[in-house]
Structures are given as C-alpha cells and as structure tokens.
C-alpha cells in the first residue's frame, strides 16, 4: 500500500463531502412542502444527517490539506462554483415530486451503505470514525426511502406510475457512482477508498429487491451520464449554489 498523495486524498474527501452536502441541501428544500407532517420531520432529519456527515468530512479535508490551502470548511461550501464541486450528478437533481425524492434517496443510500461500511476500515482513522456513524444513518435513510417506494409502487395506479417514472428518469445518473477513475483507484489502493466495482453488485441486489417488492420494473441497461466527480454537472447544480451561497457572495468575508 503506497502513500496517497495529499491532493488526491483531499480530492477524494471532497467528493464524498460534496455528495452528502448537496443531497442534504436538497432535503432542506422540502421544508414546508412535505406530504405529511411526519415526513417534515423525517426529511429534515435525513438532511441534518447528510450535512453533518459533509461537515465532518470538509473539516477533515481542511486538516489534510494543511497550510498550502487556507480555505476553511465554509469557504469550501460557500465559495466554490459548480465546476469545483465534485458531487455525484444523482444528488444534485431537483427534488421533483415525492416519488423522485424517495427514489433518488434510495439509489444513493443503497450505494452509501456499502461505501461507508468499507470506509470503516479506512487507514485514515478520522474517516473510519465518520463512516461508522454515517453507515448507521444511511441504513435508516435506505429503510425509510425503501418503505415509501414500496407504498407508492404497490399503492394506487397514480403512485405506481409516478414512482416508476422517477426510477426511469434517475436511472441514467446511477452509473457514475461505480466509476473507478484515477482518484478512486489511487484512494482504494492506498487503503483510503473503496472498490466501487465491488459495491456495484451489492447496490444492484438492494435496488432489485426494493423495486421488485414494490412491483416496479428494474430498468434496462441504458447510456449512463458521467461527470459529477470531475466537475461536469447538470443544469440543476448552479441554481442550488446560487441559492445556498447567496449571503457569502453578496457580503464577502464576514462572520455569521
């Protein structure tokens, strides 16, 4: 196992942090719009978990980067533009209806659970610690989303159609999760990362189980979009950032 270069290590942490932050932010957009009051609590809770995970990762990334980079966690969140964001495309997609949000969550959490589980064995003890908590949280997120997908899929004709539409629409954003590019490969080989090709089979198994139980069709192979981890995003991310970063951009350099 070789040493992981500092900038690769930083990049790897940033990818994880960005993905959790952006999905957490999407959850905060649901506030006041959820279908039932219990769901207001649940969605906010998921959002808090995800942003909490992101915050821990950003703070660690800042510590890892050391003196060469004097940005703090808030600078990373509020002062980077879309091309510098390294989140997965899936999580930046707009909330859409409740079916879209739950399918997006299930797709992501079914991935996050084995990723965090593997990261509990990271050579980076800080990451291993974060992963231990995050794995438990992600399991709850996965269960929550899966139960809703079951109810929507096996509910009414309308709900079945909506959730199937969401599965089909979001499918093309799932492929890049398992992409072992240079950063992921280097991180894995140095004991910091995860073998994402191995995660794929577990993800497919989970997703197939959920969709089958919900009487939904498992999509056929299709062209998969890529680019999130290298900063090539969909149109949706820019709008999220302009909302989230407004105060820091309009009143630069202040303490809040």
């Amino acid at each position: 196992m070789g040493e992981l270069q500092k900038n690769t290590r930083f990049e790897h942490l940033l990818r994880l942090a960005d993905t959790n932050l952006i999905l957490g932010h999407r959850m905060s957009e649901w506030i006041g719009k959820s279908p039932i009051l219990e769901e207001e609590l649940a969605l906010t809770n998921i959002g808090l978990d995800l942003i909490g995970q992101a915050r821990a990762l950003y703070e660690h990334a800042v510590a890892v980067s050391g003196e060469e980079d004097n940005r703090d966690a808030d600078d990373l969140v509020f002062l980077r533009d879309a091309p510098e964001y390294k989140n997965l495309l899936l999580v930046e997609r707009e909330n859409g209806d409740f079916a879209h949000t739950m399918v997006r969550q299930m797709f992501y959490s079914a991935f996050a659970v084995p990723v965090w589980e593997a990261l509990t064995r990271s050579v980076d003890s800080e990451v291993a610690g974060i992963a231990g908590r995050a794995e438990k949280e992600s399991l709850y997120h996965l269960r929550h989303a899966s139960e809703w997908i079951l109810r929507m899929g096996d509910g009414t004709e309308e709900s079945h159609q909506r959730v199937q539409d969401a599965v089909d629409a979001l499918w093309m954003y799932t492929g890049e999760m398992f992409d072992m590019d240079e950063v992921e490969t280097a991180a894995f080989e140095a004991g910091h990362g995860v073998d994402l090709t191995a995660v794929r089979s577990e993800w497919e198994k989970t997703v197939r189980e959920v969709l089958t139980a919900a009487t939904l069709d498992y999509p056929e192979d299709c062209w998969m979009l890529k680019g999130g981890r290298t900063g090539k995003h969909t149109e949706h991310l820019g709008h999220l950032l302009s909302d989230m970063q407004f105060l820091q951009r309009a009143y630069p350099g202040q303490k809040w």
Partner: protein, 325 residues
C-alpha cells in the same frame, strides 16, 4: 413557538352547577385534569381551541424560517436552522396529539386550518426579508412564546402541561441560539448591524401584538385564570417580556423601535408606546402581509401530498387483505 394572542374562554360556562363545583374543587386543589375525567364542555372546547391554535402556530411558524433555511450563510447556521425547524414541527405534532385526547382528530384540526376557520399566531403573517430575521424570530419570537408557555407547564390539563415541559426546553434553546446569532451580526460589519436593526424594527411591534389585546379588552380572562389554563394576563406577559428583552437589546447595541418605551421607577414596570390594534385585528382577520402566502403554502403541501397519502392507504388496505387471506 406560539403565544396566546386571542385566547379567551369559548363560552360562559353553563350547565350543571354540581359538575362545575366538583371540577373547580379539583382545580383549586391543584389536581391535573386527565383525558377521561369529567370536565365542563366549555373547558373542553376552550382547550381544543387553544391547543389547536398552538399546534397550527408551530406548523405555520415554520414558513418564515423556511424562507431563509436554504440560504443560511455557514454550515453551522444551516444545521441550526434545520434543527430548529425540525423541533417546531415536532412541537406541532406533539400538541396535535395532546389535543386529540380531548376527542378531536388531527384531520379535523388541520382541516380547520386549511379552510381558514382556525387561527394561528398572527406574528407569522409577517415576512422574513433578511437573514437577521431568523435570529430575531429565535431571540424575540421564541422569547415571547416562552413567556406564555412556561406558565402553561402548570396548566390544569395534564397532557397539555406535560407537552409544554418538553416544548419549553426546546424553545429556550431556540431563544438562546437566536440571540447568539444576533450577537454575531451585531459584532459584524456595518451591513450586518444594519440587517440586525432592520429586522428588530420590523418584528418588534408584531411581537408585542403576539401577547394579544390589553387585559381591559380581553373578556373571559377571569374564567381562564380560574380554570388554570391561563395563569397570567396578556399585559402581565407582555411586561415580563419587555423586562427580559430590554437589557439584552442594550447589551448588543440594538435600539428598540419605540420612542415611548420608558421604565417607571414607581411601578417598576416598563411603559410602552401605543400598539396599533387596527393592524393587529386586520392581520388576525386575514389581511396581514403574508396571511395569503402562509395558508397557500400549507394548502399546496396538503394538495400535492394527497396522492402520497392515498398510496399509503391503498397499500395498507392491500396488506390487510393479504394478511387476512
């Protein structure tokens, strides 16, 4: 958060004198009234109205804050804002459940909110126009709510009193957090200080109104006090609030936008300027700056979520049928 605003007793207690006497004796002895105990109809109705207004206020009160939650300026503030909102939804749910022990369903109560029949705290019909509004809502809004809710921890109806104990702990936390966010702004740049002062200028009077009409103009307070569902009058609570707030404002350089506010050495009370009751009543009656937006947002969530609820019900019915087979 919530403050009493319009509370009064539903109707003059009538009915059997025996029951009223027995009931009053229990209250005077400091006993808690529990869901299955006998109680005068006016007591039950008054509590349903008060508790449902309270629950609605917790829920509708989320909207002014939700308006800024996605724009919170740091990770810490973002997490704080989300956690506070989550608490408020929790309060709403908890108080709806407590009200259900009086024989009214949550659907019924929510239906009255959506139809516009039920009231909620008038203060939430004002807009949040800059980031400092969130700090001020926590500091002053939750601060005002605490004044009303702490005495409710000792109210005669058991389920409500117990709910208030938990709720008050969280509201106090919100109040301190709001003040701390305000301190950060008032220690900041001239622009941030201006935001803070602007927010207080806009919220001060609506928050003064939150305590409801002057005692002389609020009938039935007496019965409320007798039944221990209202332990202090509107003016007493307003006074407590001003007393607590003035030194906090001074400490951080906030000017309270009331030129007539002065301490009366003789009475030991703060005298404040005239409250614009015309404005208060027009907001209560639906003419406030955000009444329409708040109710529309609530109705929209309800309407857009209807298919999800139907799905859950259809699924439950199918499951029941499968289990029976």
């Amino acid at each position: 958060m919530y403050s009493q605003g319009l509370m009064g007793v539903e109707e003059t207690p009538g009915g059997e004198q025996d029951l009223l006497d027995r009931f009053q004796a229990r209250i005077d002895a400091g006993e808690k009234i529990e869901p299955n105990d006998e109680m005068p109809e006016a007591y039950r109705k008054t509590l349903i109205r008060q508790m449902s207004q309270h629950a609605h206020s917790e829920i509708v009160g989320v909207y002014p804050e939700a308006n800024w939650v996605t724009r919170a300026p740091t990770l810490r503030r973002k997490l704080q804002a989300m956690a506070k909102i989550q608490d408020e939804f929790g309060h709403g749910l908890y108080i709806y459940s407590a009200a259900e022990t009086l024989g009214v369903s949550r659907e019924e109560m929510v239906g009255q909110l959506l139809s516009g029949k039920a009231k909620y705290s008038s203060v939430f019909n004002y807009p949040t126009l800059n980031w400092a509004d969130l700090a001020v809502i926590g500091w002053l809004g939750d601060g005002a709510a605490i004044m009303n809710q702490i005495p409710l921890c000792r109210c005669s109806y058991g389920p409500y009193a117990r709910a208030m104990v938990l709720v008050c702990k969280e509201e106090s936390f919100h109040q301190r957090q709001g003040y701390e966010a305000m301190v950060a702004l008032m220690n900041g740049s001239p622009e941030q200080k201006a935001m803070g002062q602007d927010a207080v200028n806009r919220w001060w009077w609506p928050i003064m109104m939150m305590f409801g009409p002057h005692d002389a103009d609020s009938p039935n307070t007496e019965t409320g006090v007798k039944w221990k569902i209202k332990n202090f009058t509107n003016d007493e609570l307003r006074q407590k609030f001003i007393k607590a707030t003035v030194p906090q404002a001074k400490l951080i350089g906030i000017e309270i936008p009331d030129p007539d506010l002065r301490f009366n050495e003789e009475t030991g009370d703060w005298e404040h300027g005239e409250i614009d009751w015309d404005e208060f009543w027009s907001v209560v009656k639906g003419q406030g700056p955000c009444n329409h937006d708040r109710i529309t947002a609530r109705r929209k969530a309800h309407a857009e979520g209807a298919w999800v609820l139907e799905a859950a019900q259809a699924y439950a019915a199918k499951q029941a049928a499968r289990n029976a087979a």
